[in-house]
């Protein structure tokens, strides 16, 4: 029924659009951004013109929409230029939340919410109201947020062969981890040359974007703080109880020689080199860091270089309440929007609505049954993976701008398993499970935060500088006090006030 209404509505829209000069007779012309994700095989055509873009175009033509694909490179510069010069397609997207918020706050985007009842009923029902809120600024639906199937972020790993050699069990908290790191250093179970040994390696060189959620040691940090979503939203971590203890703990580890000495200057390639060569005992990294499905796999190359070496995932950072919590990504990858200059925002909504029809979503995620896959027990089964890649895989991600197949995560998981090439003895699955257990997300602000955008960059520079100093300089307290003083001088209290006011007005999301 919803589809019928959407079609009738679109036909009405087409009449208007034809008078406005867009599209072929009776059709609305919709320009849709498309991003190259993989190389298009020679026999399949081009990014904007291949059997699959043609399929979508034919289907949308039945709804009265002429879809034209506009390729887009990978740079944010182009986004800004396209928006500033009114050349952005009618349906565009960005993965940058700050960029999307800036476009919305500058009045550059359509309110898509008004079109959802008529043209986008699937968007509401499939994505859900909670999810849609990620695309709202001050209650206005400026973007449709895509779905992110796996939102796991970081997991800790420790060298099990080293623990075994020392007769130690798997550590379960910070104290046991510290003891293990000391044992790695003092007893050197891997017989690594002393100068090369790094009990804790791949250590982050910066505190991330202080006011976003890109800090690589969030999980260890939060193990020092009370779990308090209201405080996460209404405050900043440098002034939270426990933050000083967190930094002091890292400082102590570094001064004891348990954290890699050159963490502030070594690139991540060099840090990875140490891991691959078996010089590192413990890492806190993205959950899939070790398990790439190609010859670049860190775990496989480590096992090749150091026979018997094995990293296992561990939970070592329980909070004060004993619960292991992990930060996860926001459950969205892209913010899909229609620029204000577009005359067919309805058609953009209808396009997204079409993608969320169950049958269409299946086709865009897995290809056609009988061509790219067969069905067994309700799951798509891919026999010839190369054929799948050559006839559909090359374009699937480019077309599927709303994310993974939204009707059953088990299907996506089962499909992903079929593309697994290497066996990691279940460590990869355990790492993923650990990263997801009791996971929580950083607060999302759905209003323009002026103080944060104004003062944030300056504070980030201070944090980046003092992050290293607080860990490496001998006098921790002096460095920490100076860090807080400088943060306060540069406007940290203003940001906290703004966040507190937001919390009081909107509550915890």
């Amino acid at each position: 029924m919803a589809r019928v209404f959407a079609t009738i509505g679109l036909l009405a829209l087409c009449t208007v659009t034809v008078f406005a000069g867009g599209g072929s007779e009776g059709h609305a012309r919709l320009r849709v951004m498309i991003v190259e994700r993989a190389e298009v095989p020679r026999d399949q055509g081009r990014l904007t013109d291949n059997p699959w873009t043609e399929f979508v175009q034919n289907e949308m033509a039945k709804l009265g929409v002429d879809v034209q694909y506009v390729p887009k490179g990978g740079s944010m510069v182009s986004h800004t230029v396209m928006m500033a010069t009114n050349t952005a397609p009618d349906l565009a997207f960005t993965h940058g939340r700050l960029l999307f918020m800036k476009f919305a706050a500058d009045g550059g985007l359509h309110d898509l919410g008004q079109y959802l009842p008529e043209y986008g009923p699937n968007i509401r029902t499939v994505l859900g109201e909670d999810h849609l809120r990620l695309g709202q600024i001050d209650g206005v639906q400026f973007a449709i947020p895509s779905r992110r199937e796996i939102d796991a972020r970081y997991t800790s790993f420790i060298r099990k062969d080293w623990l075994d050699a020392l007769g130690l069990g798997i550590p379960t908290n910070r104290d046991e981890l510290t003891a293990a790191l000391r044992a790695f250093k003092d007893r050197n179970p891997g017989n690594v040359p002393a100068a090369e040994l790094r009990p804790w390696g791949w250590f982050t060189d910066d505190p991330g974007t202080v006011f976003d959620s890109d800090f690589k040691l969030f999980d260890p940090m939060y193990s020092f703080l009370d779990h308090d979503p209201a405080a996460n939203m209404g405050s900043l971590w440098p002034v939270r109880d426990g933050f000083r203890d967190f930094m002091r703990w890292l400082h102590g580890l570094y001064q004891e020689g348990l954290i890699e000495r050159e963490f502030a200057t070594d690139s991540f390639d060099i840090k990875t080199r140490h891991v691959v060569n078996g010089r590192v005992g413990f890492i806190h990294v993205p959950w899939d860091y070790l398990y790439a499905q190609n010859s670049g796999s860190v775990a496989l190359n480590l096992a090749r270089n150091v026979p018997g070496a094995e990293f296992v995932p561990v939970d070592v950072f329980p909070g004060p309440d004993g619960v292991y919590r992990n930060l996860r990504y926001l459950p969205t990858r892209f913010y899909l929007f229609s620029p204000r200059r577009s005359r067919v925002p309805e058609a953009a909504v209808a396009y997204m609505n079409w993608m969320l029809e169950r049958e269409n979503a299946w086709t865009l995620a897995f290809g056609r049954t009988g061509e790219q896959h067969t069905i067994r027990d309700g799951l798509p089964v891919f026999g010839d993976l190369q054929r799948y890649a050559d006839t559909f895989g090359y374009i699937s991600e480019s077309l599927r701008i709303l994310g993974d197949y939204p009707f059953g995560p088990t299907i996506t998981t089962a499909v992903r398993e079929q593309f697994r090439v290497n066996d990691f003895s279940g460590n990869d699955s355990r790492a993923l499970a650990m990263a997801l257990e009791h996971s929580f997300q950083e607060p999302v602000f759905q209003s323009r935060m002026n103080a944060m955008s104004r003062q944030g960059p300056g504070l980030i520079r201070i944090a980046e500088r003092y992050w290293v100093r607080m860990i490496t300089e001998p006098d921790f307290d002096a460095e920490f006090d100076e860090f807080i003083r400088r943060m306060n001088d540069r406007g940290m209290p203003t940001i906290i006030d703004e966040r507190r006011a937001y919390l009081e007005q909107f509550g915890v999301n």
Binding site: E36, R37, A38, E39, V40, P41, R42, R46, L47, T48, V70, P71, K72, G73, G74, S75, V77, S78, V81, A84, T85, T87, I270, T272, R273, V276, N277, A292, Q293, N294, S295, G296, V298, N301, R304, N305, L385, Q386, Y388, A389, D390, G393, Y394, S396, E397, V415, R416, F419, R420, V421
Partner: protein
Amino acid sequence: MATRRDPITWFDALNVVLLTMVAAACLIPMIHVTALSFSSEGAILSGRVSLFPVGLQLQGYRTVFESAAMMRALVFTVYLTIVGTSVNVMITALGAYPLAKPDLVGRRVIWLLILFTMFFSGGLIPTFIVVRALGLLDTVWALILPGTIATFNLILMKTYFSGIPTSLAESARMDGASEIGILMRIILPLSTPIIATLTLFYGVGHWNQFFQALIYIQDPDKYTLQLRLQQLITDGIGFGPTVVFGRSDDIPVESVKAGAIMFATAPVLIAFPFLQKHFVKGALIGSLKE
């Protein structure tokens, strides 16, 4: 007659050592990347590759050469370089020739206007709007016309033309040659060093086109080699068709990246020695006015 050799001084020795070090600083990264391009993934990840390949393999280059995207980028960049450089040199010569004439009416004003563009530009967005308004977006001309004349190169060429004796042009004029005839038949044939120099300057500029291509080009078929290289290195596009949930094949990613860098750099490296002789001469002569 045998020439007498000057004795080697400390200054000479120091010069040789210093220049060798500078040359090595330029060469070693190239040699390293070449070694990476032939090395196995495990050896690269483990940091075992320095100046010689470890775990020799050719899969990296095979992937680069089998990549339709890379080959398209190569063809487009060659086209851009040839057409762009020809237009650049031609228009620069047409601009430099009259400006080199002392009796050109309004020469000082025109010259100042041109010099102004060396220090100030319209900025990214206004330039983009002009390019779009001219219908150049997503065409090779968006990469050629906005920078048709580089003021610095115009100065070099004008200075070079000024150094050619005016009596040559006058004799030709007395024999009935037109201005364009004088330029084409007298001046340009005497200017091969500066033409070669500017060809190299403009040619390398086009070969390395990145930012303008990023802004003005949307169609992946018109990506320049450098833009494609950036996509390959940062986004992994260009390794051939991939599957959705991770790669099923065993592509040595790091050596493909190194191979692609060599692929994009080698043509200029090969061309440079042939133009070097003219380049040094042209740049020197064009920079002096007697």
